[in-house]
């Protein structure tokens, strides 16, 4: 009996204390709204800025991942060091962990299909291309090593090229004219997406033997290799660095192994002063067409592991995301200070009310809870409004063509920080409300 009465008593008191705290907010609608706005702006900026940062990070990662896993690109930046067309085979033999490699020739050629004429980027590779780039075919099949050896006039179309030439119809088996010669379409690559995999969707792929002929070259300026795993890719880069250093050792200019950490160290050790300055920075722009573009003419060869680039870019973007979040958190803090400010004003204004409540039997805990809840309500409403506004803001960004991500962790962080700032900044005013001696509270008029 006594017990159930007690329990009922707590429930009723807390329920009404919660209701009265709500009264406190409704009583001053404008003031409460402004305080809530302060919190909401903080939460919204955390959610949207971290969402933008996270979106940028994902864009970069996807960009790199579209180039294929564990791919190493070796690019010569000077005609004097270009590679023989069999050189990639030598590399596979000498370097442990390399599974496949292809010479790469890229250029432009004229294209003719019925009445359609134009110029198109082509890529000359060997039959390992789909494997190296993790790129499947939408229809047909890729060319074989025999096609490559025999310099067969066959072509595999990028997805967009196929669409724009033939609409929805299957182009496999049809013929197109490249640089005056007729090529048979034997396959179409799957869609990678806008700007992905060096814009492969808008290119055509032919055997490198044909490509050399079209661009009138005897050597290739790039080799793509694929390692069996991340670790082997890292090791392979070190080996490749040694090989090319020896190969180009007598050259006036020292080679530069950029991007890879090992390469950087070696370049530093061996290349001396001249080299240090020209170590190429990791490109971070998601829309930079080639992560391996040279930054200066000093570089003869760039050896790049995409893994490294992904890692570095990912790390850099994570740091940026956190930085953005940190900046936004400051505005959350300001929102919290707003709560504290308004609660202190409220406590001062309502001293008489506090005194009356105390005279009628309210305990310190009742008042503590009342004012704490009032602060919490502000931060709860502010959080909800802020999350909504933040997501809305991200949507606007998305519509502007940026990649964004509504990151759950950002929402979590923002909410936790907002609520705890409501608590932290509400505690002091609430304590000061509950600890006024009843007489003094009543006297203050």
């Amino acid at each position: 009996m006594e017990n159930s009465k007690k329990r009922g008593s707590f429930l009723v008191r807390w329920w009404f204390t919660a209701k009265m705290a709500l009264h406190g907010i409704v009583a001053n609608p404008l003031r409460s709204a402004l305080t809530i706005l302060g919190v909401a702006i903080g939460v919204a900026s955390v959610v949207s800025l971290m969402g933008i940062g996270e979106g940028a990070r994902r864009a970069v990662v996807e960009q790199f991942e579209s180039l294929g896993a564990n791919v190493i690109t070796i690019t010569a930046h000077d005609p004097s060091v270009e590679f023989d067309t069999e050189y990639h085979e030598e590399l596979i033999e000498r370097v442990v962990g390399l599974e496949a490699a292809t010479p790469v020739v890229s250029d432009k050629a004229s294209l003719k299909w019925r009445r359609t004429r134009g110029r198109v980027d082509f890529l000359g590779v060997n039959n390992q291309f789909p494997f190296i780039r993790d790129h499947e075919l939408a229809s047909g099949h890729f060319f074989t090593s025999l096609h490559v050896k025999q310099r067969s006039p066959v072509v595999v179309l990028g997805y967009n090229v196929a669409i724009s030439l033939l609409g929805g119809r299957n182009p496999v088996g049809k013929s197109i004219t490249i640089d005056g010669n007729t090529y048979r379409i034997i396959g179409v690559l799957k869609e990678k997406g806008i700007g992905k995999a060096e814009d492969i969707d808008n290119k055509i792929v032919i055997p490198y033997t044909s490509a050399l002929k079209i661009s009138e070259k005897r050597k290739v300026d790039a080799i793509w290799a694929k390692a069996a795993s991340k670790i082997e890719a890292d090791l392979a880069i070190v080996q490749l660095g040694r090989i090319f250093k020896r190969k180009l050792g007598l050259d006036q200019k020292a080679p530069n192994f950029a991007s890879a950490k090992e390469g950087e160290e070696e370049g530093g050790k061996e290349g001396g002063e001249e080299n240090k300055g020209s170590v190429k920075p990791v490109p971070k722009e998601p829309d930079s067409p080639r992560p391996t573009l040279p930054s200066s003419g000093d570089n003869l060869i760039t050896i790049t592991s995409l893994n490294k680039l992904v890692q570095e870019a990912d790390k850099a973007n994570r740091v940026m995301t956190l930085l953005l979040g940190g900046i936004a958190a400051v505005s959350l803090l300001v929102g919290g200070l707003g709560i504290m400010n308004i609660m202190l004003v409220s406590v001062t204004e309502r001293r008489t009310e506090i005194g009356v409540r105390r005279a009628l039997g309210a305990k310190q805990t009742d008042l503590l809870l009342q004012f704490l809840l009032e602060a919490l309500y502000v931060s709860i409403i502010g959080s909800i409004a802020g999350i909504a506004a933040g997501i809305w803001g991200l949507d606007i960004f998305e519509n502007q063509g940026f990649q964004t991500a509504v990151s759950f962790s950002a929402i979590k962080i923002a909410t936790v920080v907002a609520l705890s700032s409501g608590l932290v900044f509400g505690v002091y005013p609430a304590i000061s409300a509950s600890s006024v001696p009843p007489v003094e509270a009543l006297r203050s008029q």
């Binding site: 009723v12 105390r358 005279a359 009628l360 039997g361 309210a362 007489v439």
Partner: protein
């Protein structure tokens, strides 16, 4: 036996470095069912005394017992319980909460008691009927006259059926008509419900409604006046 027992009560306020002695040795015994007035010039310490009687303040020195319980030793939480269950307060300036209507104001002590909805509403309505405001349940304080506000405040003070009602100049802000009304209610509470009433007043007429008047001067009881008939009206 005395219900409220003040013995050798001293009270001083700290003003920076100096202590201002306000009460300088007060002995008062108030029995159950008494209706007592406290009079004295402004600044003589009447409110201070009433606050101590109401457990809103603790005397600097001396003992205060309610029904045999020493007050100075109790925790803040216990004091809140005593104020809630045992004492009812009526203030000169009513002190109703402006965003609550008449009945909700009266419900406040019942809420702090932890009483459930229907019981609480019934009790609050009863209290308002006792003070003659059964038809003003849903009026906000701003929609009530001064006299009516004070009657709501009285309803709030008595809804817990406290043993003692403490009133600090309950008629101080009212005209004579409303004052008489309040006094009639006090006498009814005293006579019919057996509540003990302690009121502070500046008005000699008002003090005559009680049975006994303590005249305070400069922190001590100057004299005790027994009112003949227990007042007219």
């Amino acid at each position: 036996m005395a219900l409220l027992k003040l013995e050798d009560i001293h009270h001083s306020y700290k003003m920076g470095q100096i202590n201002v002695d306000v009460l300088k040795g007060i002995d008062i015994h108030i029995s159950r069912g008494e209706f007592v007035s406290i009079m004295g010039p402004s600044g003589s310490g009447k409110s201070t005394l009433l606050n101590i009687l109401g457990c809103l303040d603790i005397a600097t020195r001396g003992t205060y017992e309610i029904d045999g319980n020493r007050i100075e030793k109790l925790s803040d939480s216990r004091l809140a319980d005593i104020r809630n269950e045992f004492l009812g307060f009526v203030f000169q300036h009513f002190h109703l909460l402006s965003h609550l209507n008449a009945r909700e104001n009266v419900e406040l002590p019942l809420i702090y008691r932890g009483m459930w909805g229907n019981d609480r509403k019934r009790k609050a309505t009863e209290a308002l009927e006792i003070v003659g405001l059964g038809d003003r349940l849903h009026h906000l304080p701003s929609q009530l006259s001064g006299g009516e506000k004070q009657r709501v405040a009285i309803a709030r003070a008595i809804t817990m059926e406290p043993a003692v009602v403490l009133a600090d100049e309950p008629t101080g802000a009212l005209d004579s008509h409303s004052s008489n009304n309040i006094m009639r209610i006090f006498k009814k509470l005293n006579k019919e419900l057996g509540m003990t009433i302690v009121q502070v007043t500046h008005d000699y007429e008002v003090s005559l409604h009680g049975q006994k008047t303590y005249h305070i001067l400069d922190g001590v009881i100057e004299r005790i006046e027994n009112v003949e008939s227990g007042g007219g009206v």
